[in-house]
Amino acid sequence: MRGLDEFSVITGNRRAVGLLLWAAAFVAMTGVNVMGQGFGPGGPPQSPKAGAPSDLTGYWVSVVVEDWRYRMLPPTKVKPPAPGIFGGGIGVPVNPQALKVALAWDPDKDEAAGEQCKSYGATNLMRVPGRLHITWQDDQTLKIETDAGTQTRLFHFGPTQDGGGDWQGVSHADWEALEGLQVPGLGRLSGIGSEKTGSLKVVTTKLKPGYLRKNGIPYSDKAVLTEYYDVVTEPDGATYLLITSTVEDPVYLMAPYQTTTHFRKQSDGSGWSPSRCTSR
């Protein structure tokens, strides 16, 4: 606040300056709401849908590049050695308990138990090759449907009655913002204001235990999935959806498991082909 004091000294009229700066702060805070979920300039509160800084809706198709062998090829059982920060070569920072579970992976058993969707839970669903159909279910809820496994994820921007406990758990969403108002000459003032970046942040909990990969690498019901959704456009007009994910699981992971996945936007629903979960 030293800067404010100095400015007051310069003007010689603290009361007038104070009023003006508070006015500025008020307007700035109003602006926060313009950018966030609150009030527009003189208007009603904007819904997450109406105030969306980027458009995620439409049909998207996987571009299967990252971890290609684990996603595109039929799953094979994890081979020890394994535990370690780099997953002993399997690319997932599993702990010994997780390795034990993975080594016991039996897709036939999963199918017999009707558990063939274990690798279609939220932690891995976006990695499954296929297509997404993203729509607004209502002003507060973004819906992602997948043709692979015929799954649905709901991203709630506000409170929800959803109790979770299924493959997709409960997802809370918010448009990412840089907290704090940027005031020229004074830096960023924490506690007042924010600026949207265009990214959607989604935190998912209350998951039914399943697989991080099709070959039985497990996650538990304690897992927390944090995702960022970004839409970028290439100079040639091609539009991509980037998903940056982190899974933290105190039961099975030694460190956060971080991945990135991307999709290319389609002009329509061509290729949309709903299919059942498979364990292989």
Partner: protein, 629 residues
């Protein structure tokens, strides 16, 4: 009152600078202005994803998820890991985007104008292979097509909210994966860097008309280092890894005969087709193609050798602007490139007259002379011809007559010429001196070209040398390469070599068999160039090369060209050893992995002509050897 007015103005700026009032208003503009999010600091690859592919890893025959076209796939399958023992490959830098996969650290830092604090550039340093990179943020254009290429390329950037978009051109031929999967020097890369707290999501889209059938898009994570990791260097010195290997031997695998092609597929229990890459392997539907093992195997067998059918033509941009104008580019030191009149022209300037290598096709000689006159205060003194071909000698008369050689008047030549002498002796020193290897003179006289086009000052063997404009200029004879009269010219202090058509970035070498050219002579000439070059840093920079046609290059580019010719020669020789006729060799497409970069199906130098030249050159060589025995 005046002070109150100032306060009002301050408050107004605060208010107006906030996003509620739009974006980009002066210094209060937030993350959408050209400064964007600050990414300065040190970062490392978040290596869990694609952990198998960090640095020079990846198995031979593991190309799934990479949209290789036929040329790219065949290039990778012909790659032999021993290629890394070739001197120019040992310390080659990592290109963009491959550098992001380095297991080492990298750093961003900003460069700002000290007076305005506007962002000028974001600099990057990758630890592994010490990639130095500048991302220009000041709106400058990319260089012209004839400018040099580097492993990091030329990058410009813009911010949009929290996304930094970087566009990179002028890349060298480098790796998409360290198992021989290439991208070409025609590739462009667009990166999106999105910062989320202490991580950056990097999204790269590589477009390459030469080796890819779709854009290669890929994401990865970089994690912020809280503490400086201190490891920033990557010491590399090249050396003789295979002692006694002939200079013209380049390790490679013949098409369809790579013994390790199935190794990765077998190890992972998947069909070979799954491993061969192609845009289709990135599509969700690809998995279904693998279910019929027999069909997948049959398809794979078609993919590992050149497909029968029409040859492919180059998809590279021709660096020659073809706009009826002459373009000047400073190469380095005292040497410039003049491009636009057919063959490239090299010009060295200084206190003495201009020293010119080749005179172009002669269609724009007036503009060439005007451009040279702007580079130095003295007229053209010497013109060296690298061969007798008309795209390098066409401007001889015009450039010669526009110049003068002040070393001649008052010398023996000036004082001793008999009365009534003609040609060179008629008026020595009143035009530039034309120099070439003697066979150039012989061939131009045989073609009955005008006297003032024919270089009278010739040499026979080894080299000519002159100390001119403050540096040693050496002219080296390269026997039986493109023709029997080829020269290269080395500017020692400027550290530039003009190669003539021995090195040409626009086409396969124009081996003119009927004028004495041979494939072995061509490879030897390229090795002769490489024995005179050095690099500044990890096969970038150092000695710069002016080719007969095309863009400015360095030793790595020349080595790639040498490797290509040696590899194609080996394929042709192998087929000849098996008794193939020239037509059978052409039909087998031994150039299939290079045609999208250098091939032609029409014009003065087609791929078929090149293959025929190699075939006949090898046949002549074998006949000569048999005669000697």
């Amino acid at each position: 009152m005046k002070k109150i007015t100032s306060a009002v103005a301050f408050a107004a700026v605060v208010m107006l600078s906030h996003p509620a009032f739009g974006q980009g208003f002066g210094f209060g503009a937030p993350i959408s202005a050209n400064t964007g999010i600050d990414i300065s600091g040190t970062w490392s690859y978040g290596g869990e994803q694609d952990a198998d592919y960090g640095t020079a890893a990846g198995s031979v025959g593991d190309y799934g998820g990479i949209p290789l076209n036929e040329a790219g796939r065949l290039y990778a399958l012909a790659w032999d890991a021993s290629r890394m023992t070739v001197r120019q490959q040992q310390c080659a830098g990592y290109g963009i985007p491959y550098a992001y996969f380095s297991p080492g650290n990298f750093r961003f830092w900003e460069e700002r104008d000290p007076h305005t604090q506007q962002l000028v550039a974001i600099h990057m340093w990758f630890q592994t292979s010490e990639v130095r990179r500048t991302i220009w943020m000041d709106g400058r254009p990319h260089p012209p097509a004839w400018a040099p290429h580097t492993f990091a390329g030329f990058s410009t950037g813009t911010w949009d909210k929290n996304v930094l978009t970087i566009t990179t051109t002028h890349l060298k031929r480098a790796w998409l994966r360290g198992n021989g999967v290439p991208y070409s020097d025609e590739a462009t890369v667009v990166e999106k860097l999105v910062r989320h707290g202490d991580r950056i999501t990097v999204f790269t889209v590589t477009k390459d008309p030469v080796f890819l059938d779709e854009p290669y898009s890929k994401t990865m994570i970089n994690l912020r280092n809280i503490k400086d990791p201190t490891a920033w260097l990557y010491a590399c010195e090249d050396g003789e890894e295979i002692v006694g290997r002939r200079e013209d031997k380049v390790p490679n695998r013949l098409f369809g005969k790579n013994p390790y092609m199935r190794e990765w597929a077998d190890k992972n229990g998947v069909p070979l087709l799954a491993t061969l890459g192609g845009g289709i392997t990135t599509h969700p539907e690809f998995a279904a193609k693998l279910k019929d093992a027999g069909a997948a195997e049959a398809e794979a067998m078609k993919e590992i050798v050149p497909k029968p059918g029409p040859e492919q033509t180059s998809r590279a941009v021709n660096p020659d602007p073809n706009d009826a104008d002459i373009h000047v580019w400073k190469v380095q030191g005292n040497v410039y490139l003049l491009i636009g009149d057919g063959g490239n022209i090299a010009v060295q300037v200084g206190d003495q007259g201009a020293f010119v290598v080749d005179s172009g096709a002669g269609k724009l000689s007036d503009k060439v002379i005007a451009a040279i006159s702007k580079l130095g205060k003295n007229p053209i003194q010497f013109v060296v011809n690298t061969s007798f071909h008309p795209d390098h000698t066409g401007g001889n008369a015009a450039l010669g007559n526009a110049g003068q050689d002040p070393s001649l008047p008052g010398s023996f030549f000036g004082g001793q010429a008999p009365t009534g002498a003609t040609g060179f002796f008629q008026n020595p020193g009143h035009h530039a001196t034309l120099i070439a290897q003697n066979n150039v003179l012989v061939r131009m006289e045989a073609a009955k070209l005008p006297n003032d086009m024919i270089p009278p000052d010739t040499y026979l063997e080894n080299r000519r040398r002159k100390y001119h404009n403050g540096e040693l200029v050496e002219i080296f004879y390269q026997p039986n390469a493109i023709t029997d009269g080829d020269s290269i010219v080395q500017f020692r202090r400027s550290d530039v070599i003009a190669t003539g058509d021995i090195y040409d970035t626009t086409r396969y070498p124009f081996i003119d068999l009927k004028s004495g050219g041979t494939v072995q002579g061509e490879i030897s000439a390229l090795n002769s160039i490489l024995n005179k070059t050095g690099y500044e840093h990890d096969e970038d920079g150092g000695t710069l090369i002016i080719p007969g046609h095309g863009r400015i290059s360095d030793e790595y580019d020349v080595a790639e060209y040498r490797d290509m010719i040696a590899i194609i020669r080996d394929r042709v020789q192998s087929m000849m050893d098996a008794g193939a006729t020239v037509e059978q060799v052409k039909a087998a497409r031994p150039t299939a992995d290079y045609d999208t970069r250098f091939g032609a199906t029409s014009g003065p130098w087609t791929t078929d002509m090149f293959v025929e030249a190699i075939y006949n050159s090898l046949k002549q060589s074998a006949s000569a050897q048999a005669a000697r025995n």
